[in-house]
């Protein structure tokens, strides 16, 4: 019976073409507006590394000055060099990495290429395993190179192609920052959305991918300046050593735990570390030391912008309006069918049969609206994507949102069809038959 009613519904799409087209269009526009804004929210608030996000931890210690401190306020989202080095040496967790930004010039060996600037990160070796960076050629630098801060580099595919064409560049040398770096690997297409590994300090949660990675200790050895945020609460002396010794915060730290249940141990270790540092005269604020998992960190950093939430809220208001509109149109469409209902009821169809038939007919309208809505939503997302590269990375629809589109459209149509269908069921067969 379902199949038959479904076919009837499809056929009745053609019955009042103008009215039906209007209905489908309005439903489609409402669904498209909601789905496109929802897609952006969905991508922004998604878990970038689901199987591991509970085990990747951002630690925070507050090293701000005690003077003028009101409990509750926080110094910043990053870490001083001193704390970063201590935490790297701590042996806590399975893996640890400290990340900061670096930018500089590249002098290509090919004479036809001009000098250009690149931006990248300076992590430690664990970074690649922690964040599961895929490699096209080669791999991370060695443990020894990591410790000694050797001149080694991992390039992005784009930068590698720019410098070496399609050849495997592992073992080749690149002149960067005025030094000769040996290429140990080329990483593949990897730029997580959001860029959870470096939300703070760089180009933000939806910025461009990193062009290269060099060892953390290498950047320090060459006295490279920070590319990104640096927050200094007190004055520091001149020179690079003064920066390293200072309480300026500019380094993003990550732990990888063996299992999510190791978190209390890490918390205990961090508290012990902080009180030990307090004995040395540091961390005088005695603020709570914090740990964040990936999702807690995204929440803390307010990765989902207010504007995105505003858009989604208004889009749903609009969908509600489209729904009310569709109720009216369905009422109009079903009301002229009273004689038909009268005949069917007289021939023995129960109210329930009529109810099912008309509700399925509404659902067919919803399905048509869903298909058109999907097309419109894809168009809207493409349009929104042209605004900027940051937004473009969030405008990709996945299977889940595809499903949501149809569920939303069909359930909106069924919801809208309830009242008109109920009305149609109230038709008294005798009245209709008499007037004919």
């Amino acid at each position: 019976m379902f199949q038959y009613y479904f076919l009837l519904g499809v056929r009745s799409l053609r019955r009042n073409p103008v009215l039906t087209a209007l209905m489908v269009l309005i439903l489609a526009v409402g669904v498209a507006a909601s789905v496109s804004t929802l897609t952006i929210l969905h991508v922004m608030s998604g878990d970038p590394i689901p199987h591991k996000s509970e085990r990747l931890i951002v630690p925070q210690v507050d090293n701000g000055p005690l003077k003028g401190y009101t409990p509750g306020e926080r110094e910043g989202d990053e870490m001083s060099y001193r704390d970063a080095v201590n935490l790297l040496a701590s042996g806590q967790g399975d893996r640890r990495t400290a990340i900061r930004g670096a930018s500089g010039t590249v002098e290509p060996a090919r004479k036809d290429l001009p000098v250009f600037t690149v931006e990248g990160l300076t992590p430690t070796r664990d970074f690649f395993a922690m964040f599961e960076v895929p490699f096209v050629y080669g791999g991370p630098w060695s443990e020894a190179d990591d410790k000694s801060g050797a001149d080694v580099v991992v390039l992005s595919t784009k930068l590698a192609e720019r410098l070496f064409g399609n050849a495997n560049p592992v073992g080749q040398r690149v002149r960067m920052f005025g030094f000769d770096y040996a290429v140990t690997g080329v990483y593949g297409n990897w730029n997580p959305v959001p860029r959870y590994h470096r939300i703070v300090g760089g180009s933000g949660a939806f910025g461009e991918g990193d062009e290269f990675y060099i060892p953390f200790h290498n950047a320090v050895r060459h006295e490279m300046g920070q590319n990104g945020n640096m927050n200094c609460s007190s004055d520091r002396g001149p020179g690079y050593q003064a920066l390293l010794d200072s309480e300026c915060i500019w380094i993003q730290f990550w732990f990888e735990l063996h299992s999510a249940s190791d978190r209390p141990q890490l918390q205990a270790w961090l508290d012990a570390y902080a009180s030990e540092q307090r004995k040395l005269g540091r961390l005088q604020r005695n603020a709570p030391n914090k740990l964040y998992t990936v999702m807690e960190w995204l929440e803390e950093q307010k990765v989902v912008g207010k504007d995105s939430r505003l858009s989604a809220m208004l889009a749903f208001g609009f969908l509600l309006l489209c729904l009310v509109n569709t109720i009216g149109l369905l009422l109009a469409k079903f009301s002229v069918r009273a004689p038909e209902v009268g005949v069917r009821r007289a021939l023995g169809a129960s109210r329930k049969e009529i109810f099912t038939q008309f509700l399925i007919e509404s659902a067919v309208v919803g399905l048509a609206g869903g298909i058109l809505g999907l097309v419109l939503a894809l168009g809207a997302l493409a349009l929104i994507g042209t605004i900027s590269e940051q937004i473009a990375v969030t405008t990709h629809m996945d299977w889940m949102m595809l499903l949501v589109t149809f569920v939303m459209s069909v359930s909106a149509a069924i919801l809208a069809g309830l009242l008109p269908t109920w009305r149609a069921c109230q038709v008294t067969p005798a009245m209709q038959l008499k007037s004919q």
Partner: protein, 411 residues
């Protein structure tokens, strides 16, 4: 008046009118809030930076490959500035550490005294070895601009020197010394405590926005100090071109710097207009999204009114024929439908105004937006009325055109 019969006719079949009224209410609630958000964003984007004739200004970011030591960097910077000044079509050149609205810059807290526990404000600090006042056409409302004697040459790698004088914006002055009539000659401190750097305020700028261009007064908290810095990875210049010459001057400037360093340099230029567009990109995108939704909203509501009114006209063909046959003029029929519609939309508008307040309350509490002023609700209400009348006019006219002969026909 015929309000009473129309009203009792409406009460006989309530569903249709209620649906139309709900649509009007929903669209009014969303429309007035959307319009308000759009105008708030537009106001923010329209704020002056303080820079005169922005379309003539551009910046040049210069990164020399092997910059050398302090003396070599100083010489290079002076040579760069001289090369830029020598170009035709360029009226003014100044070195700077940051660009207004570029969203990346230096912020340094200031205080009225060393002994204070907390600083008074965290303004952005511009550093220039020339005159940003001249290049950007800023208005100095009190005191003076820097002189070449004020400019200190500081090697950031070894020296703790700091300039002795500073310019501040009026907004900064009011924040640091809330009750002072004039700020010129006052001592100001970067930071607090014994390490704080003391400067004397020599002039007050009417306004100059920060690199972030934050909302409200924070966007105008800026200070300026005279220095030529070395030990940084780049040198930054801002230039003003003669009217209409900017794009050509930009190319010439890049070329001149490349030539000066024999290609051992990376140069980037960007116009101030581009900085503005980039800074307000997200705001503009949101505005367009809201405007699109508003237009769609009006169209959907209008189509709802047209659809319902058409249905009623069809259902009442016979009655209309009878009324016409009994002597009602066309205008009477037209008036009937328009009045009926006005009653429905007015009900919707009352609901919509309440809805607008409720939605605004939600936005204020959840997203910290501004309160909705009454005029947006009034504009929205007027728009809803106009939309209602315009939408019902077509069906009403068709109703009025029904021939009195309809009364004689069956069904």
């Amino acid at each position: 008046m015929e309000i009473k019969p129309i009203f009792s006719a409406l009460m006989r079949s309530k569903t249709g009118p209620i649906l139309v009224a709900v649509q009007v209410a929903l669209s009014l609630a969303i429309l007035s809030n959307a319009l308000h958000i759009v105008s708030v964003r537009q106001e923010v984007a329209a704020r002056p930076t303080g820079i005169a004739n922005e379309e003539q200004v551009f910046s040049l970011d210069v990164k020399v490959l092997n910059p050398g030591g302090h003396e070599e960097q100083l010489a290079a910077q002076k040579a760069q500035a001289a090369a830029l000044r020598a170009l035709p079509g360029i009226t003014s050149v100044a070195s700077t550490n940051q660009i207004t609205l570029s969203r990346s810059g230096n912020y340094s807290s200031v205080a009225a005294s060393r002994e204070q526990e907390r600083s008074n404000a965290s303004p952005s600090m511009y550093v220039t070895a020339d005159s940003l006042i001249k290049t950007w056409g800023l208005r100095v409302i009190d005191g003076r601009d820097f002189t070449p004697q004020d400019v200190l040459e500081i090697d950031q790698k070894t020296s703790k020197d700091f300039p002795r004088v500073a310019l501040i914006t009026k907004a900064t002055g009011q924040k640091v010394w809330p009750d002072a009539p004039s700020f010129v000659g006052k001592k100001m401190f970067y930071g607090t405590g014994p390490e704080a750097r003391e400067v004397t305020v020599v002039g007050v700028i009417e306004t100059l926005q920060t690199p972030s261009g934050a909302m409200g007064v924070d966007g105008e908290l800026t200070t300026m100090v005279p220095a030529r810095l070395t030990g940084m990875s780049r040198a930054l210049y801002t230039l003003r071109a003669e009217p209409g010459q900017r794009d050509r001057a930009m190319k010439d400037a890049e070329q001149a710097i490349r030539k000066l360093h024999n290609g051992q340099v990376v140069v980037h230029s960007k116009t101030q207009s581009e900085q503005r567009v980039d800074r307000y990109k997200a705001d503009n995108a949101l505005c367009w999204m809201l405007i699109t939704v508003s237009v769609l909203l009006m169209m959907v509501t209008a189509s709802g009114i047209v659809g319902m009114a058409s249905l009623w006209v069809t259902q009442r063909r016979k009655q209309i024929g009878v009324r016409r046959a009994l002597g009602a003029r066309k205008i009477d029929i037209l008036r009937y439908f328009v009045t009926e519609n006005l009653m429905i939309t007015t009900t919707g508008i009352v609901g919509g105004l309440l809805g607008a307040l409720a939605l605004n309350q939600l936005l204020v509490s959840k997203l910290e937006l501004a309160r909705l002023p009454a005029e947006y609700m009034l504009v929205g209400a007027a728009a809803s009325w106009a939309l209602g009348i315009a939408a019902v006019y077509g069906p009403a006219w068709r109703a009025a055109s029904i021939s009195p002969a309809m009364a004689t026909r069956s069904a």
